[in-house]
C-alpha cells in the first residue's frame, strides 16, 4: 500500500536545494478521529506478514494464507524458500489467528524462522525479517526477539529501513526483564501484555521503551490441528496491535509509520483527550470476539 510521497523521488536528500516546497507535495489523509481510526477498517488490502514458527494451513481461525515461506540456513548461507510445511509448534498459528480476528480482511503471509535447526537461529531470524521488509509488507508481526547483542546493530538498521519504507514492524517485548531486540528500538511498535479482562483493550505505556500493552493473559488462540488453546505472554498481545495497525491502514492507506503510531497512541484507552471525555474506552470495540 506504500505510495510515493514526493514528486521528486531522488533517493537521498540531506537538504532541500534547488527545489521549493511546491516541488515536494505530499498526498496525505486528514488525521482521523482516534477512535474512528481503529474502528473504520477491516484490514482489507493490507499485507501482513507473521515472522514466527509458520502458520497452519486451513485453520478455521486463521483462514486464507496468501504466502508461506521458510528461512533455510545451510553451507550456502541463509535464503528464503516457499514452503507448505505449516507450523512446527503452534505459536505462529496463534499469532496469525489473532491478527485475523482483529483485521478479518487483511492479507496474511507467513515466514517461518523457527523449527528448522538450532545453530544460527539469530541469522535465520534476521534473514526472515529482512526478507519481509524487502517484500514491502505493510505490517510485520514479530512475536520474537533476540538477546544476542551482536545482532543489535544490524537489526536497528533493518528496523530503520522498514520505518522509512513504510513497513511497520510490530515487535514483542521479551516476557522477562532482559535486554533483547528489536522491540527496544523507537522505529518499531513495541508491545507487552496487560492483565485486564477486556479483550479489545489497548493501552499506551507512559514509560517506554515498551510502548503499548494489549491482551496477553489467558488468551484463547488458534493452535495445531484446527483447534484452540489458551495461553499467556507478550507474544499474543503483539498480533492484537498488528491487527489494529492493519485496520487503521486499510482505512487510511497513506498513513506513515509515525502517523500510525500516533493513531495507536491517541486511541489507547488510557490516553485522555480533552474533547473525548474521561471514561475508559475500548478502542477496538468493533473487533469480533
Amino acid at each position: 500500500m506504500s505510495t510515493p510521497t514526493a514528486a521528486n523521488d531522488r533517493a537521498l536528500t540531506w537538504s532541500l536545494r534547488d527545489r521549493r516546497p511546491e516541488d515536494i507535495p505530499v498526498a496525505a489523509d486528514p488525521f482521523p478521529d482516534p477512535d474512528a481510526a481503529v474502528s473504520a477498517g477491516t484490514g482489507r488490502g493490507v499485507r501482513v506478514c507473521v515472522v514466527d514458527s509458520g502458520v497452519e494451513r486451513d485453520h478455521p481461525a486463521v483462514g486464507r494464507i496468501d504466502g508461506s515461506w521458510v528461512v533455510v540456513k545451510d553451507d550456502d548461507g541463509v535464503r528464503v524458500e516457499a514452503t507448505d510445511t505449516g507450523d512446527t509448534c503452534g505459536h505462529g498459528t496463534a499469532c496469525a489467528g489473532i491478527v485475523r480476528r482483529v483485521a478479518p480482511e487483511c492479507e496474511l503471509s507467513s515466514v517461518r524462522v523457527l523449527g528448522e535447526r538450532f545453530s544460527g537461529t539469530g541469522e535465520v531470524l534476521m534473514g526472515g525479517l529482512r526478507w519481509a521488509v524487502r517484500q514491502g509488507f505493510d505490517v510485520v508481526n514479530l512475536s520474537l526477539s533476540t538477546t544476542r547483542t551482536r545482532f543489535a546493530q544490524e537489526l536497528r538498521e533493518l528496523a530503520d529501513e522498514a520505518y522509512f519504507n513504510r513497513t511497520v514492524i510490530v515487535a514483542s517485548a521479551h516476557n522477562t526483564p532482559v535486554e533483547s531486540f528489536p522491540w527496544r528500538f523507537a522505529s518499531v511498535v513495541s508491545v507487552g501484555s496487560h492483565h485486564e479482562d477486556d479483550p479489545g483493550l489497548h493501552l499506551y505505556n507512559p514509560r517506554p521503551p515498551v510502548e503499548f500493552f494489549a491482551p496477553g493473559q489467558n488468551v484463547e488462540v488458534a493452535w495445531l490441528g484446527g483447534k484452540t488453546i489458551r495461553t499467556t505472554g507478550n507474544s499474543f498481545a503483539t498480533p492484537f496491535i498488528t491487527g489494529l495497525a492493519a485496520r487503521i491502514l486499510s482505512a487510511y492507506p497513506r498513513m506513515t509509520p509515525f502517523q500510525l503510531k500516533s493513531a495507536l497512541y491517541l486511541s489507547a484507552a488510557n490516553v485522555r483527550l480533552p474533547h473525548v471525555g474521561s471514561g475508559p474506552r475500548s478502542a477496538a470495540d468493533g473487533v469480533h470476539q
Partner: protein
C-alpha cells in the same frame, strides 16, 4: 516423535556425579512444589543432535524418563528452546490438536504446560517444564514472572552440571564441595517455599 534412551556416558545424558544429580533433582522438586504441579522436568538441549534430553524429573515419569531424548524442533519445549522465551499453555487435554506423541510416550498427557528457557548468558542450555500446575497457578502474567525467576536458579544448576562435564575449558564450574553447598541451598529454598503459606 520418537523418544529414546542413550548411554549414561553420553555427554548430554543425565549427570553421573551424585551431587549434580541431586542438584537438578532438587530444582525440579522445588519447581513442582512452587506451582503445585503434577510433574516438573529439566531438559538439556543437545544442539548437535537437535534433541532435548531429560536430565531430571519430579512426579509423573520420574522412574523412567531421565536420559530420554526427543526432537527439539517442535512442540512447546522446542519453541521455548528456540525462542528463549517462557510460555504458558492451557486446555491441551481438551484438544485433539495437541501433539500428543511425546506426551503419550511418557505415559502422561498434561492439560497445562509452563515452560521456561534455561540460559547461560545469551545461550539456551535447556528448558524447565512444569506440567499441570495447580489451577490457581495457571495462566497469569505473575506466574510467568515467578517461572522466570525460578528458571534463573535452575539455569545456574544446569550450568554447573554442564560445565562440570565439559571440563575446565568450558568454564570453571564448581568444586565438589561447592556443588554440595549449592544442593543444600536449593534444599533450604525448597523447605522455605513448601512451608510458606500460598498467596
Amino acid at each position: 516423535m520418537s523418544v529414546e534412551n542413550r548411554s549414561v556416558t553420553d555427554p548430554s545424558g543425565p549427570p553421573d556425579d551424585p551431587s549434580a544429580r541431586e542438584l537438578l533433582q532438587s530444582v525440579v522438586e522445588v519447581a513442582r512444589a512452587i506451582f503445585g504441579a503434577q510433574a516438573s522436568s529439566v531438559f538439556l538441549l543437545d544442539e548437535e543432535a537437535g534433541e532435548l534430553v531429560f536430565q531430571a524429573v519430579s512426579g509423573r515419569g520420574e522412574e523412567f524418563l531421565v536420559g530420554r531424548r526427543f526432537p527439539a524442533d517442535r512442540g512447546i519445549a522446542g519453541w521455548v528452546a528456540a525462542s528463549a522465551e517462557p510460555m504458558i499453555v492451557d486446555d491441551l487435554a481438551a484438544n485433539a490438536s495437541f501433539d500428543r506423541s511425546l506426551a503419550q510416550s511418557t505415559a502422561y498427557v498434561p492439560d497445562a504446560i509452563m515452560a521456561a528457557p534455561l540460559m547461560d548468558d545469551d545461550r539456551v542450555l535447556g528448558v524447565l517444564e512444569v506440567l499441570d500446575p495447580a489451577p490457581q497457578s495457571r495462566s497469569s502474567l505473575s506466574d510467568l514472572d515467578l517461572l522466570f525467576l525460578f528458571a534463573r536458579q535452575a539455569s545456574i544448576a544446569l550450568r554447573i552440571v554442564t560445565r562440570q562435564r565439559t571440563g575446565p575449558a568450558a568454564g570453571p564450574g564448581l568444586a565438589p564441595e561447592r556443588r554440595t553447598e549449592a544442593a543444600e541451598l536449593v534444599r533450604r529454598l525448597e523447605r522455605l517455599l513448601v512451608d510458606a503459606p500460598h498467596a
